[in-house]
Amino acid sequence: MNGYQGRVAMIELGERRYRDIFLDEGLVRKYIGGSGLGTYFLLKFCTPGTKPLSPENPLIFTTGPFQGTGIPTSGRHQVVTRSPLTGIFLESDAGGSFGFHLKRAGYDGLIITGRSERPVYLKVLDGQIGFEDGQDLWGLDTMETDARLKSVFGERIGVSCIGPAGEKQIPLAGIFHDGTDARAAGRGGAGAVMGSKNLKAIVASGSSGTEVHDRKALTVLISEKNAILKEKGAGMTLYGTVGGMGMAEELGDLPIRNWKQGSWKEEVREITGQRMAETILTGNYGCVACPVRCGRVVNIGGGNIGGPEYETMGMLGSNCLVNDLDAIARANEQCNRLGIDTISTGSVIAFAMECYEHGILTGEQAGMPLHWGSGEAVNYLVTKIGNGEGIGGLLGRGTRAAAKELGRGAERFAIHSKGLEFPAHDPRCFKSLAAGYATSVRGACHLNGYSYAWERSATFPEFGYPEKQDRTTDKGKGIMNARFQNLSSLVDSLKICKFILLMGVNLSDISRWLKCVTGWEYSIKELEETGERIYNMKRIFNAGLGLDRSDDTLPQRILAEPRGSGGSANTLPDLGMQLDEYYSYRGWSNEGIPLEEKLEGSGLREFMNWIPS
């Protein structure tokens, strides 16, 4: 089957055995790979009663059909599981090189269940899977783990691993790849799930190429598109995603002082990508098959380390009122080493700072004063959270759980949806993010739909959006969200980077690539329907856990407290209106439950038993 290795491994850690599951064409045409295939297996091997940190919770790694073909940005993979942070569906997308090596090893994915008695790591080498003692790796940080495994297996391997945070099953723990060139499946606590299985790392390597239906035609298409992406992505190459800091502040998008402050015009200049380029930037790095290379390398204290990207700079920086580039870069490095999500970590630190300001959390409880703007406090808390020590034990459980435990009104400072902390984009600035965050299947996520990109600067004529959308209005945003969620689900299943949708890659290109790789014809309409099917599957999972409209909500700070100044001052989103429009377009009940006829029409009959009657 062109584009696929045709099998995933079902691995049981407790019994140290595995078996191959062979993929038939009908299945992969329906669910593609990545997000779609991962969600399919989650629904198959998980039940509504499966606890996130139980041995039964499957931890699923999937690649896509473009992996290994050279298609721009196709070096990505997906991690799918049930989240210990939110308790609901979790998928997390990562770049780097692990997905590439996993597919070269002869697998389209891994489904990992069970719990090893002792720390273990997996070898996936040329179609064979081995279980190795991981005791010597236990306690190492992610970069040490990567280096240690490369010293054993050589440089031409992919390593997926957890740090100390994952080992301790801290709900903010992610799964990390590529050592110092860190790329993370960061959000939602997949690292804690891996730690709960006593699985420290996965090593993948092999020589199985990806068979392609029409290599000659594909080579021409790749060459043409790479040239365009290099030009259109030049800003990202030069400044990384953090090049957008200044504009985010100007528009009123940037989180400032735990989402309470409107503008920060002078201060932000110290932490833009442009400022980074003038000061500490020493290079850049990229994922496999990416011509843009947005990853940053910076020099701190005489050594080169990975630099913060936009989300990290927003959450550990402006959201905590820290504009010390050095301090943020050190905190980013520490998050990557300990293996924790920079977005949720920044959010929970800002939450702690606001609790401290209001006397809900004392300096004695925290271990030091938590003043706004203190880079020292940010770095202190990162270390505490990543090691699960002191106040970090509480904060590492996320803002929702920490607020509940602290009480005394702390809930109003917890900026999350469904337990997942907000990333660094504001629904008061880009209205579509209101329904976007509220309905996102893993909790607040800007990439679940990526709708705001089309309210900021991008156009997508082929998808019915020939003009930049008005970011200040609510009307139409429910529909827009649903459609871009479908598109994102498709892209996450193919496993390409969403950034290229802003740089001249459209659905016709994707359709042509898919034809060249697999030989299959997909119309643009069929591509969107495939994305919709996959999105509905994720919602089915959450509906099975009892979630409905009442869970599709946002914090009061976002719904009722406008920014007082800046580019999105004095405006609030109308979530109720957006949700009505959204559910209606989706063919779900007004309570947000997918309806039987919709699921039937999408070919999802086999999962109807997940929907509570």
Binding site: A227, A234, T237, T241, G244, M247, E311, S457
Partner: protein, 89 residues
Amino acid sequence: MSRKGFTLKFYGPWQRAAGVEELFLPQESVTTVWCLIKKLEARFGEEFSSHREGLVCLYDSVKGPRALDLNEDLLPGSTILFLGIVESG
């Protein structure tokens, strides 16, 4: 004999103001980014650069992009990109 000049490529708001994706501007002598923008303003109107978005960079398909200062000299034969907002993550 090929003509001397600058290959200009426009993106985002620059493209909307210019109304074209690409333009060849004949010129035999060295100029600066600032002078180039002034020439383009005269051609496309002041809104060409009034959006204050993005960056101007020199582009080489082998060496990649390099951001330009407004007063930097440009050699004929160069490709110049006028990029829209630097997209954030």
